[in-house]
């Protein structure tokens, strides 16, 4: 998959209030083995009409973040601290009922595996109409028409027939389109797409991403697209947020992150991507080491055990937790001096990409 960076220009100067603002989000799960710190101090903002890509490996906390935003941990044993404001309203302090009303209407989610995310016993039409009827008091017929319209909009052929079919009768790509229809039918301001293409064929992936982009443009909604695949965010995102061990480690525009990344982890991600457009001269270079334990994460910089450039003696990588300035345009959570980082990138990393 080619890594062409999106040609889109990031939206210019930010409007007055961001659509979504996440401040110092912490999500903890108490387990028998200890407390799992899935998200440990995450902050970012999202403007209306923007696409943010959240990238990281498994266990980085990206899905947990999205589910925390949706409030899907309410009533579970998870402990959530921090602030999540949508249009100025703190979702974490909202009453259950209030939050429920916003779900599906203001924020919608698209899940990774549409086969398991859709109820096998009900028709696709039934489930999409349900999403609509929860938030709109309309007669069945009206909901049905809206659903058919939506199915057509997402590119499903013969929608009037398909509406009465069951999820298992759809192909993978069609199913995901149906999920997208379900998410968008209420015209939400924010769409969270959690690994929407991971379960699909490569050729279908491109179609789905294209669909998402065109819909976003049409409805002017914001999208958070969560993935471990850099190629996916290269296509669509304005900004990219890299997460590691429950924290943000780097954020920047798509351009900045692909052409001038500054965090060793991001370097590692970029280096470990297979490239189809170059000769294969050497083996893939994975990031050495294993993902950290979220119960007892490494002290200091959580990435330091796997970092090739750490310098304990001089920088104190194993003792000091590097800061992350969320207000800066390209924050990097790293103790290495910024100039040094740029140098390392130019000399070591860039040639091998």
């Amino acid at each position: 998959m080619t890594t062409t960076v999106s040609e889109q220009t990031p939206s210019g100067s930010p409007p007055s209030t961001p659509l979504l603002s996440v401040r110092d989000l912490r999500v903890r799960f108490p387990t028998e083995d200890g407390i799992v710190k899935a998200v440990d101090g995450l902050s970012f903002e999202l403007q209306q009409g923007e696409i943010l890509g959240i990238v990281g490996e498994s266990g980085s906390g990206k899905s947990v973040t999205s589910q925390a935003i949706m409030g899907l941990y309410r009533g579970t044993r998870a402990e959530i601290n921090g602030m999540i404001t949508l249009d100025g309203v703190d979702l974490l302090t909202l009453r259950d009922e209030e939050l429920r009303k916003r779900r599906g209407e203001d924020i919608a989610m698209i899940f990774q595996d549409p086969l398991s995310a859709l109820h096998p016993y009900y028709t696709v039409g039934n489930q999409i109409m349900e999403a609509y009827c929860v938030h709109h008091d309309v007669p069945k017929q009206a909901a049905r028409e809206k659903t058919i319209e939506m199915l057509e909009r997402v590119g499903i052929p013969s929608p009037a027939k398909r509406i009465d079919q069951y999820p298992h009768e759809f192909s993978g790509g069609m199913r995901q389109r149906a999920m997208i229809a379900m998410a968008l039918i209420n015209n939400p301001r924010l769409i969270i797409a959690d690994e929407p293409t991971t379960a699909l064929d490569v050729t279908v992936q491109a179609q789905i991403l294209e669909l998402l982009v065109s819909l976003q443009q049409e409805f002017n909604s914001s999208i958070i697209i969560i993935t471990h695949d850099l190629g996916v965010v290269a296509e669509m995102a304005n900004d990219i947020l890299v997460m590691y061990a429950g924290r943000a480690v780097e954020r920047g525009s798509a351009d900045a992150l692909f052409y001038a990344p500054e965090h060793p982890y991001t370097w590692g991600l970029l280096s470990s991507m297979p490239r189809m457009d170059r000769l294969r001269l050497e083996r893939l270079k994975p990031i050495r080491g294993n993902p950290p334990s979220l119960i007892s994460p490494p002290s200091g910089c959580t990435f330091h055990p796997r970092c090739d450039y750490r310098d304990d003696a001089r920088l104190g990588c194993s003792r000091i937790v590097p800061e992350f300035d969320a207000s800066s345009p390209h924050p990097v959570r790293c103790l290495i001096d910024p100039d040094d980082r740029k140098t390392i990138f130019e000399t070591d990393i860039r040639p091998s990409l």
């Binding site: 949706m70 899940f111 595996d113 398991s116 995310a117 109820h119 096998p120």
Partner: protein, 337 residues
């Protein structure tokens, strides 16, 4: 779908015949002489021999079986003696087709015998079914929704305790303490529904509860397991993400998915129960198919045994077919191969 059902029904018929043949073979393979049991108190070898002839047990087994099968289609006469038919026709039993045989130990033809016992067993089975579905399933749902908490542990623990107790112990205990000593209920006696519905219901309470207790125990556990499994499903998360109310998620999405496998299991359990609850019927002295089965087995009453085997098999086969069809209706992913 029609073809599927027809095929299953045909296979079922074949199974019934095979089972009746096996019963015949097993019966005659047993070491005890069945003719002894009609012989009465003072049984000499000569009397036994005479009775064996009168019962038709002196013919080769396969001949007897063929006669039996013929009788199913054409009916039979007992005794099959042309002289008696002339001199004492009023003593000849006409067993119309389908003739499952005539039991000399019950002095009745097997079909009417089974028909008279069936309502008792059916009443017991249905009442027990209602008990265990209501108590067992709701208990399991409550336990699953309160997973890990005291209520969950209490329900599962209680279920395990009842699971461990043998039916005859529970039945006898209930009979002696609840009915006799504490007099909380009248002594359980079976009254036909057509005779007195209130008495029918009252009489069924203790025995069907006894029968249901083991099922309740197991259904609490399997319902809990099914519901928990469903609770972990992604589509529930989707429903929540859509903004559905909790109650709606529970009823429409969770229950529908978790209860459908249970209803199919229950269907089969009910089919098996219709064949007779031997222990419960014996403890409470309910004159159903189970008690008849014990009687037939201990007195070596071949015609009755074959009749019961066929009837039980019929119920189980039918229950299986119905459950399979039902499942296809409920779960759209299931197709008939």
């Amino acid at each position: 779908m029609f073809a599927f059902v027809v095929r299953r029904v045909l296979v079922g018929f074949i199974m019934l015949f095979v089972m009746s043949l096996v019963t015949y073979l097993l019966f005659f393979a047993a070491p005890t002489d069945p003719a002894r049991f009609t012989c009465g108190k003072n049984c000499t070898p000569e009397l036994v021999e005479q009775n064996r002839k009168a019962l038709g047990y002196d013919k080769p087994v396969l001949v007897q079986y063929v006669d039996f099968v013929k009788g199913v289609f054409t009916g039979r006469e007992y005794p099959d003696d042309p002289e008696v038919a002339k001199t004492a026709p009023q003593t000849v039993v006409h067993c119309p087709a389908p003739c499952l045989g005539y039991s000399p130990l019950m002095s009745q033809n097997v079909t009417s015998l089974l028909a008279s016992k069936l309502p008792v067993t059916a009443s017991l089975a249905i009442m027990a079914f209602i008990f265990w579905m209501v108590l067992g399933v709701s208990g399991g749902v409550v336990a699953a929704l309160n997973r890990g908490r005291f209520l969950d542990r209490a329900l599962v623990g209680t279920a395990l305790v009842f699971y461990a107790f043998p039916t005859f112990f529970i039945g006898l205990w209930l009979y002696i303490y609840v009915a006799i000593k504490w007099q909380l209920t009248p002594v359980p006696v079976y009254t036909p529904l057509t005779q007195d519905p209130a008495a029918w219901l009252a009489g069924l309470f203790l025995p069907s509860l006894t029968l249901a207790l083991i099922f309740i125990a197991s259904y609490v556990r399997i319902t809990r397991a099914f519901v928990l499994e469903t609770l972990g499903e992604d589509y529930l998360r989707t429903a929540q993400a859509k903004g559905l109310e909790k109650r709606k998620i529970l009823t429409k999405h969770t229950m529908r998915a978790s209860l459908t496998p249970i209803t199919t299991v229950a269907g089969i359990d009910l089919g098996v129960l219709l064949a007779g609850a031997i222990i419960t019927e014996t403890v409470f002295n309910y004159d159903g198919l189970g008690k008849l089965a014990v009687q037939a087995a201990t007195t070596f009453d071949l015609p009755t045994m074959v009749g019961i085997v066929i009837l039980s098999a019929f119920f189980i086969i039918t229950a299986n077919i119905i459950v399979d069809v039902l499942y296809a209706y409920i779960d759209p992913r299931v197709k008939y191969s």
